[in-house]
């Protein structure tokens, strides 16, 4: 009985949570302009999206989103992983301070992060564009990479690095041959997290993109929604992103499940 209530409650909640998503998934297969009206089954919207017929601004927004996401995810994974190693080897007082700094972008609402970086560029009189958006994304993604890598470091035998150095490895070789293999799973999940955070970001991008017409998918949707109508091709785009993320997360979770199972 208790089990029935628990399952019933959870599935009902799940149904409510997913119903908006299902609506978009379903209506990605009809070419009606407005969301909610059904004009018969068709995959035209998907075809338009892949043939690049959804309009040049949407195409460039998609391209910008992925370029920015990959560049900032790679940079933040490299810098964040190095930082995790550095922080791990600091004295407790320094480490506490770094952990505090690491929390700032996570606690700050996106709008504050966006505005503050926007003001930095205004105050310095620098133009905003790809560079400012990427810098901002790196800055708010790095803390998540640090947090994904840190647990792997904690589990690692601290003497391994010293042993490698004693046996004649340079710090660089020790990093590549000893530390890196141990940290790889943490770095991978940090990378995927950074990628999704960057793709998903809206507020920070809106403030740092400047006014020369660069858009990511998020800011494109924002402009589109303010104009009233929503480009219909966004529905299949959204469906594809959703399915991709679903698959990525399942893979990630299966990996961690397998690792914990192996440990046991």
């Amino acid at each position: 009985m208790k089990k029935l209530i628990a399952n019933g409650y959870l599935w009902a909640l799940m149904l409510i949570m997913y119903s908006p998503i299902f609506i978009i998934l379903i209506f990605s297969f009809t070419d009606a302009k407005a969301l909610g009206s059904w004009h018969g089954f068709t995959i035209d919207l998907y075809a338009n999206l892949f043939k690049g017929e959804a309009g040049p601004s949407l195409n460039s927004a998609i391209l910008t989103t992925f370029i920015v996401a990959f560049v900032s995810a790679i940079l933040s994974t490299v810098l964040g992983s190095l930082a995790a190693i550095g922080i791990y080897n600091m004295r407790p007082a320094q480490r506490r301070m770094m952990n505090f700094v690491n929390q700032i972008p996570m606690i700050n609402p996106d709008i504050i992060t966006g505005i503050s970086i926007f003001l930095l560029f205004v105050a310095l009189g620098l133009p905003r564009g790809y560079v400012s958006v990427t810098c901002a994304h790196v800055a708010f993604c790095m803390p998540y990479v640090v947090l994904s890598v840190m647990p792997r470091l904690m589990k690692m035998n601290p003497n391994l690095y010293e042993a490698a150095i004693d046996l004649g490895a340079t710090p660089f070789i020790a990093l590549r041959k000893v530390i890196f293999p141990e940290l790889k799973p943490g770095m991978l999940s940090g990378f995927i997290l950074a990628l999704t955070l960057s793709i998903d970001d809206f507020a920070v991008t809106l403030f740092t993109k400047g006014s020369d017409g660069i858009n990511t998918i998020s800011t494109f949707i924002y402009n589109d929604a303010r104009k009233g109508g929503l480009t219909p091709e966004l529905r299949p785009l959204f469906s594809i992103i959703f399915i991709t993320i679903l698959v990525l997360l399942i893979i990630l979770n299966l990996r961690t499940a397998k690792q914990t199972a192996n440990k046991k």
Partner: protein, 257 residues
């Protein structure tokens, strides 16, 4: 040259590039916000704050209070809806908690605006009016995972023998819940509150979409001011938001970990 190599060899210096990026793009900008907030024209002044707190036209201040109200309702609804969900999933008899938790968190990876537009579509589809109720539904829908996850985490780490001990000592299931489980899960609830309350006040765009531009929240006011070039006033409002965050995170952080 040797000194440089030694320096790079020390592993704690590997955090330096990170520290520089954080300093330039996270810490320094916060000081710039504070600096802008206390400027009026070329002079240092409290004018921006006066404008917010004591102006004849107190629309912005009212929006601020209204946003806090909406955020409180959202947070309470999230606790009421999210706590049972977390509780059921943390139950030891529950078979597939990982999958369920993943399913609850998954929508968070979907663009906030698209999620909101999907909610608007749902309301249209069901022929419900957009307005305050839609706003609260949308906010709860957007931020519920942030409430469920921390509560689930604390409940799941709880020692099940505490429950058994209380039962052995004669407590009824209700007493066990109110006297043992609930107090011990409060750290999770606090982090949940922190993660729901602040985003609700500061999120912009969402409220406009869900209410057809009829209701503005504080985040929108800040964004409007920045957009129209009132950087100093916008910064002052951001600073007020930052101070509230600082206070509430001290509040919540105390019981955490």
């Amino acid at each position: 040259m040797n000194k440089i190599i030694d320096f790079i060899g020390q592993r704690k210096s590997w955090a330096i590039p990170y520290a520089i990026v954080m300093l330039i793009f996270i810490i320094a900008p916060l000081f710039i916000v504070a600096w802008y907030a206390f400027q009026d024209g070329d002079a240092t002044s409290l004018h921006q704050f006066e404008k917010f707190f004591n102006s004849d036209d107190s629309t912005d201040f009212n929006t601020f209070i209204y946003s806090i109200g909406i955020a409180m309702i959202t947070t309470i609804v999230c606790i009421l809806v999210g706590y049972p969900a977390a509780y059921f999933m943390a139950d030891k008899q529950f078979k597939t908690p990982q999958v369920m938790v993943l399913l609850f968190i998954l929508p968070m990876w979907i663009n906030l605006l698209l999620r909101t537009l999907a909610t608007v579509a749902l309301f249209d589809f069901l022929h419900l009016d957009l307005g305050e109720e839609a706003l609260i539904f949308g906010m709860v829908y957007n931020f519920l995972p942030f409430m469920i996850y921390p509560i689930y985490n604390t409940l799941q780490k709880m020692d099940p023998s505490l429950n058994e001990a209380a039962r052995d000592l004669g407590a009824t299931p209700a007493q066990v819940f109110w006297k043992v489980i609930l107090p011990l899960s409060m750290p999770g609830v606090y982090s949940g509150i922190l993660m729901v309350f602040m985003p609700t006040i500061s999120t912009f765009a969402v409220s406009e979409l869900l209410t057809m531009n009829n209701i503005k929240l504080f985040g929108t006011v800040i964004q409007d001011n920045m957009n129209t070039g009132l950087l100093n006033y916008g910064s002052a409002l951001s600073l007020i938001l930052l101070i509230i965050i600082g206070i509430s995170s001290l509040f919540g952080g105390k019981d955490d970990k």
